[in-house]
Symmetry: D2
């Protein structure tokens, strides 16, 4: 069987081999369940070092769980979340936040998936009026669903504005490692120093078998998290096996190594695409995704060869996602198929 790498999503990939080994190391006798084990204890130190301040990670199973647990920890039922129209919590989680928290998501239009501090002002007229849900959290995705990345100063500006309006700021970091690498910065600079309150730190899309971490940078917001996580069905009994993956991921800088590869591959793909006048890259390639406007016939041709998503059918825009295990050869082969298509015309 031939090993295949697609351009569909970074969760089509398998598990980083070092991460998989960490599971074996951890598989030794009995350990206290539900996060009262030594690996989980160790993770507190590991995360605190990464963020340059004392933080405690709370592990959950998946990205949707991470976002919902983080947000519903701080939302009363009549409060709301402000997010981009492209936000994963709005578009891709089958209404999980609404069901679990009872809260509304108020959406903002964006050109490139990034919302601006100025846009938040418009929500202030809802404040204090009982007929309206009360805006409580601004949730941004970093990197965004369009592959773009907020700069540290953009995040700080958003956090400052959110705080000035009595709101918190949450980051959906399903692809957070790619964002940190993209900005050539650190987790401390991007999240601790900018004033972010809660980060959903993604692992699955960057080489982990499974597992995400809800990180409260604003510690007082974590007071209900244990109950919220359990009630949200996101508490893992054998929690050590998520903790060990993250401990490995961080202490051995696997997050960095893997994100560097997927980002680099996206740049490589973008460069290679330049030779085709017919193909237009539509958003800034800041991380590991390349969005391109291509003709429907080419989409059809390429989908017979590999997997990827049509992002916007009416505008004929596709998403090509690079992964931690994507290789130059994968891309060269892909480019070859495009050339083949145009030659045949």
């Amino acid at each position: 069987m031939e090993k295949k790498h697609y351009f569909a999503s970074d969760n089509y990939s398998g598990v980083d081999s070092e991460i998989l080994k960490s599971l074996e190391r951890c598989n030794f006798g009995h350990a206290d369940a539900y996060g009262y084990d030594s690996e989980t204890e160790k993770s507190e130190k590991v995360f605190s070092e990464l963020f340059g301040k004392k933080v405690k990670p709370f592990f959950v199973f998946n990205g949707t769980g991470s976002n919902v647990v983080a947000l519903s920890s701080v939302l009363n039922r009549f409060e709301s979340v402000i997010a981009s129209e492209h936000a994963h919590i709005h578009q891709d989680e089958c209404g999980a936040l609404e069901l679990i928290s009872g809260c509304k998501i108020l959406i903002l239009p964006t050109k490139n998936g990034k919302i601006s501090a100025q846009q938040l002002d418009s929500f202030n007229h809802y404040r204090g009026f009982e007929h309206n849900v009360q805006p409580k959290v601004v949730s941004i995705s970093q990197s965004t669903e369009l592959g773009t990345v907020y700069s540290n100063s953009e995040i700080k500006e958003l956090a400052d504005k959110a705080h000035s309006l009595g709101m918190y700021i949450h980051v959906d970091g399903a692809r957070v490692s790619n964002a940190v690498v993209s900005q050539n910065t650190t987790f401390k600079e991007m999240f601790s120093d900018t004033g972010v309150d809660i980060l959903s730190f993604g692992g699955t899309k960057n080489g982990l078998l499974f597992g995400e971490a809800v990180v409260f940078l604003n510690e007082e917001l974590s007071k209900n998290i244990l109950y919220v996580r359990k009630q949200s069905m996101q508490l893992f009994s054998k929690n050590r096996f998520i903790a060990s993956q993250f401990n490995e991921f961080i202490t051995k800088s696997i997050w960095k190594k893997n994100a560097e590869n997927s980002n680099r591959m996206a740049q490589y793909l973008k460069e290679k695409l330049k030779k085709f006048d017919e193909i237009e890259t539509v958003y800034s390639v800041d991380s590991n995704a390349v969005f391109a406007k291509v003709e429907p016939k080419l989409i059809e041709y390429l989908l017979e060869y590999t997997h990827f998503y049509i992002w916007n059918e009416s505008e004929s825009v596709v998403r090509w996602m690079c992964s931690f295990d994507t290789t130059k050869e994968d891309i060269d082969n892909f480019i070859f198929k495009i050339e083949e298509f145009y030659k045949k015309l």
Copy 2:
């Protein structure tokens, strides 16, 4: 470091080594996410063979998720679940079902964790009266939270009664393998032939790294499951890695081998305890748990040596749970500590 086996819970254990290996075998290139891969496809065949009829398993992360997804798939908001007062869904899931489904759990007193068909009649007077939630599902645990096991005929009687009253029957099978082994029967005979509608098939407590399966024996009840699972945050992107564990678990009869060991160890422990007049076993040891009434001083003494749960503090009842990796030596050492305690008196 010495490897330790406690008597706390079967989720204090690690992962069966064959199961862990199945993850490596499965870690090969990219695969379609969210359950559209070949391992998940294969699982349909594997489960259908086990149950002697065409069934489709829907994988989820954990036990609470499995119960809530199974139940809320068939419950409208004003409907209710009937369960034992000891039911995990009632006692140990932090109100997950109520939050996610909006539904009430109506509880029944039991002597040994098992509810009887006769007890269901009392709920019939709620039927059709708009001031009352409408009973829709009877949920039993097999094996029960008290280590007892329903016979196949008891399940059939419950299912028949539930159906005659317009209700479905769900089984919380977090420890279902132990129940099947206990009754020296098969999954087909215990669940397909008795008329059970939905089974939450547990893996984590019997040697899996993580993962449970919601199995619809009554196929028409599954029509909403994909949305319910996603919205309940229980859809795993790299689903192949749960499917592969279950495929290994079932095709290599690991479920049986492991449950046989934990059940056998519970019997061995129960036998060994007979020599202590001061210790009284309080429920029938049908599966892998031994409940015993012991004096508080002994509890204190033993807790310094190993981990286990005090089940009922006021009645001084403890739970000693055996696991797939519990050994005779573990028990002999434990018995030795009890002897030591009584010698010192």
Copy 3:
């Protein structure tokens, strides 16, 4: 058409004529909607006087709404309410609290509908354990669903115990006027002086057309009530028409006059029943309800003549409820029917 008074429920009755007139008086031109009118403003003074302290009533439509709004104002999703097994919120509201708040109701057995302070201790072992919902509010009914009434000192004991365990105390006062009259006390003594946190003050069952008031005696708990009431669909646009009823109800002591009548009629009925050896009154007749154990044939006979509820079919217990407009003649006629039944035998 003959005017009929049944013994079914105090909400089978119509509207006190003075109350109905208050609607006309209030029906004058336009007024600010949603409770920003002068009648609603006046009600703050009226209620504060009644309770001997500054309180603000928040009007809602009905009893279920009043309980749910009061409770969900202070409950986080993973918290729970402790109540009697007979509590209206548990038995008769079709799971409204669970749906709206996501919270569980933990029930206590009672002999006469009243829970005791001692019973609350058992919930303390749930505290701080993330697998359990966290007890937050003790909800009692005054008068209870069985027609019994807590003494002021019993309420104080419950409130003290609840507070000592980190909980609040809520009173479902659908029939609160009957309770105050029964104890020959005042609203101040029964609720302000005993430490009750929130009272659902019922009007509909004591002569109002419609309307209940959520009264926060613990003022800081009211900080979310405006949003909770609106989101719970219990905010009335023409709020002045509930306020005016309550203002009339309280300032003219209609609550007292009406409750005195219904309580007196229940006593009168109870006395009259003594002559029948075959009829046994089963709970203390503290307020306006008489529960009696009577033979099934008599139930059948009486139901052809008037309406009332069979409370417990298996024990052949019925509930005969007196209302603000029940007359001695109504009862004499009813007793006559019972005599008739026994004569025919």
Copy 4:
């Protein structure tokens, strides 16, 4: 005290005097509670006549309740509602639908508050994809929140399209009488003949004391309504007092008389405004609301004289709402104040 009529909202008004009298007529002895009385029974006939087909109205307390009960009767938790960005259910109900049903509202931009059949097509790509909530109901407001009114043929086109896409159509008819009068049509032609599935029939904003009716034109959708209404806290014990208002409202054509007045007053106001070049009417005045773009200074000046809402602060648009009791004199006086303002300049 001078009687005042504002231009704030039609729920600032009081009660039509004939309606108020109907309460007195109905206040006679006891009647079966919760809608099992003769007035409620009569309403079935009254509504069926109005709609030209057998329908059963289910009475609720208020507009938000009416919309939420209607919609959550047919929505599973993972389904969604499509509505205009201006929809009351989206903007003005404090997230009630999301909390009660768990469902999302997907919004559409509109120029005049009306959505078009063509706009519905875009939601079809969500169908069958488990990551997205599943569109189930199209909810339109008639008349709309911007005072515009759908023609019967526009409604039919929307209903046909919704049905062809597997969806139902619900009408938020808080001001439905104004819409019927506006189109010089009948309830039968506007709702029965066009294929509307559920109508929230408003009474409070057109002269009732309180009360709305959920009318299922598609009868099979009503199978859960009794439970949904009770659990949603919208079941009135003394239901006869809503039924009697509606019976009077319909049989005596009060709905028509009142809506004709408020619509006529809006036209009168619109005509009178024409003389001011500085004032621009911004939406078609189809019913009883006039929206106008006026300078901020004038807004300030008029708000000292009467009440009305600033609809859009940034665009300086106000809403002037006429009511069943608005008089020509009210408008003449208002126009006089505007003239006064411009004279003073």
